[in-house]
């Protein structure tokens, strides 16, 4: 069976972009029971709208319900599960026993076990399979060899994280945020305390300099290992980042989509090609996590340095006027006549051009596209599909 590419989506626009750019499924959090509840604007009606949209193009929607439940959190759980079942959500992703058991008792929902449970072996994966869990999202602390061994012994479908932010702790085993800022890390309140700056002491002797002890890790980037995961017949490859921008989602999903499709077509390119595509939107340093085994200094962030994407996202195509050959763009970042832009479409076509003129919606000539979300028009000979990304090409 063809592997699934699973993308995050923090809102409806991002979800649709992810699906249009090649994700087979998206996972979203509703306003309840999700670790990203704060970031969510997915009310029940919007979840239904997304499910209908996804099913209309033969794709899937999973709902995260991965908080660690306290007694006070349980109110409304049954009704929520029943609703998700009624609107034909494709699966729920959870980590608490109560969600698994209530979902089994009340619904026909497919159940996936969240990485919050940090499953690191096949015994536990199989236990959950027998408990009614169809898919287990494995812990991010596993090497490729360990994943292979688990896959060989596992009855459950397996989902593997391939890209995005990583907890430094085993997921679900951290209360740093609870203790330091009174926000419950396992109920959506994580303050990323692990990314703060610390000094290291041995007894009373300071060892570090200027708070340079950091626990923070680089983001995961597993292009190098996707071929191995495909060879293993893993069920799903997962991208992290429900808080990321539409441009990031489109770019990263598209790069992994190309990699997967190239594998199935027997036409894999050098891995640097896919990595360079990702770099057009990536703004954090990346590494390969635990895929090669124990992590080293290579996987840690010690200097808080951000990466600058090689291409700056400047807008999204919202339409094309065939009669006047005008491209309508929703501005996201500053650009002006003379800039060289690159259009990147959902079907992976890339067109590079130099901006000659920028017009307002009232056909006034503008010296630049200055305002976020402003609709501007550019003369352009080719019809470009809606939701194509527009990037500024940077000079080296």
């Amino acid at each position: 069976m063809k592997i699934e590419l699973l993308s995050p989506a923090g809102n409806l626009e991002k979800a649709k972009i992810a699906l249009l750019y090649g994700a087979d499924a998206v996972y979203i959090g509703g306003k309840q029971f999700s670790l990203r509840a704060r970031a969510s604007n997915f009310d029940l009606a919007m979840i239904k709208e997304l499910v209908d949209f996804a099913h209309g193009i033969n794709k899937k929607v999973y709902i995260t319900m991965n908080i660690v439940f306290h007694d006070d959190d349980i109110s409304g759980l049954d009704e929520y599960l029943i609703y998700l079942d009624e609107i034909k959500v494709d699966a729920i992703i959870c980590s608490s026993m109560i969600v698994i058991e209530r979902a089994k008792a009340l619904t026909n929902l497919e159940i996936h076990l969240s990485t919050q449970f940090s499953v690191t072996n096949s015994l536990l994966a199989n236990y959950f399979f027998h408990e009614g869990v169809k898919r287990v999202v494995l812990a991010r602390e596993l090497s490729l060899a360990e994943i292979k061994e688990i896959k060989e012994k596992s009855l459950a479908d397996l989902e593997i994280f391939i890209h995005g932010g990583m907890c430094v702790s085993y997921s679900g085993r951290c209360t740093l945020s609870n203790y330091t800022v009174l926000r419950d890390a396992n109920r959506g309140g994580c303050a990323h305390t692990c990314r703060w700056l610390y000094d290291l002491f041995e007894n009373d002797r300071k060892i570090s300099d200027n708070h340079d002890f950091q626990m923070s890790s680089k983001d995961l980037e597993a292009t190098e290992f996707v071929k191995d995961l495909l060879d293993m017949n893993i069920s799903s490859l997962k991208i992290e980042g429900r808080m990321k921008s539409v441009h990031y989602i489109a770019t990263v999903v598209s790069a992994y989509r190309m990699l997967i499709d190239d594998y199935y077509h027997g036409a894999l390119r050098d891995v640097s090609f896919y990595q360079n595509e990702i770099k057009k939107a990536e703004n954090r340093q990346t590494s390969y996590g635990f895929f090669k085994g124990e992590t080293t200094t290579e996987q840690q962030l010690y200097n808080q340095r951000s990466e600058v994407p090689t291409k700056e996202f400047v807008g999204m195509v919202m339409g094309y006027d065939n009669s006047r050959n005008l491209l309508e763009i929703e501005q996201r970042n500053y650009f002006k006549p003379g800039d060289v832009l690159e259009i990147f479409t959902p079907d992976k076509t890339i067109v590079t051009f130099k901006v000659k003129n920028v017009f307002s919606q009232d056909d006034e000539i503008l010296d630049a596209a200055r305002h976020p979300l402003q609709l501007v028009r550019l003369p352009f000979a080719l019809s470009i599909p809606k939701f194509s990304m527009v990037r500024k090409v940077k000079n080296d």
Binding site: V68, L124, T175, Y179, G189
Partner: protein, 289 residues
């Protein structure tokens, strides 16, 4: 309610019993945050004192750990071992295969936070669960009202906040080009965060990874009367605590020393953890990535 203590030496057993210890918790090869490295090899001697013995298996279990786990759980078939304290649910799964699931106390630290967990694990016929460390006293007592399986709590000592597989100290010294021995299982490292100048968080690296602890130890002297109404086991954690202080804490819980005397002696090290402290579910407006 039994007082479960961590054992460091054979020589202290008699003294610990006289102070009120009911159960000795012994580190195994699959324990992290160890305090008594060679005790596992001295089980026969420990048994000879006639007290209950639990084995500590709190490492996250990877595939390579399954065979060592098998050996530990086979040893746990011995009637003189009455509990296996498990950090990873895999221990329960393997114990069921070997017929010793009824000795497993599931103690993951963060996951046992509601009444349903107590019912779920009752139906799995394990010995019990340890209520999670980040919930309030009122939440704990609510779980008591529907008690089905045995319940326990780590009610005293330095509680860990974070368990990473990464060797964070070793990697840091490499990053700094500092050649250094005695990193593993060294209890003297502490972290200080730039905005919290007075808080020093113990950080401890071992074969399982890296653990970060609260800056202050937990004490439950005022709460123990309420807790013992429903708890079966009260764990007294030992890491980072000197022997005399550890013994004193056991004395207080067994009314052999006054809480006032103890707190006068050690007060600046202790607080009440989350007993009276709710945590927010939703992020605020702090600077976040």
């Amino acid at each position: 309610m039994k007082f479960v203590v961590r054992l460091k030496t054979i020589e202290e057993i008699t003294e610990l019993i006289s102070m009120g210890a009911d159960v000795f918790l012994v580190d195994t090869p699959l324990a992290v945050k160890k305090v008594g490295l060679e005790m596992y090899d001295l089980l026969e001697t420990i048994f000879s004192y006639g007290k209950e013995v639990y084995l500590l298996v709190n490492k996250m279990i990877h595939e390579e750990d399954v065979e060592p786990l098998n050996k530990i759980l086979s040893k746990a078939k011995d009637n003189r071992i009455t509990g296996v304290v498990a950090g990873d649910l895999t221990v329960m799964v393997k114990a069921k295969e070997l017929g010793v699931a009824n000795k497993v106390i599931y103690q993951p630290g963060t996951m046992n936070t509601n009444s349903f967990d107590n019912e779920y694990f009752f139906l799995k016929e394990i010995k019990g669960i340890t209520i999670s460390k980040e919930i309030t006293l009122s939440e704990i007592t609510k779980i008591f009202t529907v008690k089905k399986t045995e319940l326990s709590l780590v009610g005293h000592g330095f509680i860990d906040m974070f368990y990473s597989k990464r060797k964070l100290l070793t990697n840091y010294f490499i990053f700094k080009n500092i050649v250094r021995e005695n990193i593993r299982e060294n209890p003297n490292f502490r972290l200080n965060e730039e905005m919290r100048k007075d808080s020093y968080y113990p950080i401890f690296e071992d074969n399982g990874g890296t653990h970060v602890f609260r800056n202050l130890a937990l004490e439950s002297f005022d709460e123990v009367e309420e807790l013992e109404k429903a708890l079966d086991d009260f764990f007294i954690e030992r890491i980072f605590i000197g022997d005399e202080e550890y013994y004193d804490s056991l004395k207080v819980y067994n009314n052999k020393m006054s809480r006032e005397e103890f707190l006068e002696k050690y007060q600046d090290k202790y607080n009440k953890g989350f007993f009276y402290q709710f945590t927010e579910k939703i992020k605020g407006e702090l600077d976040e990535n």
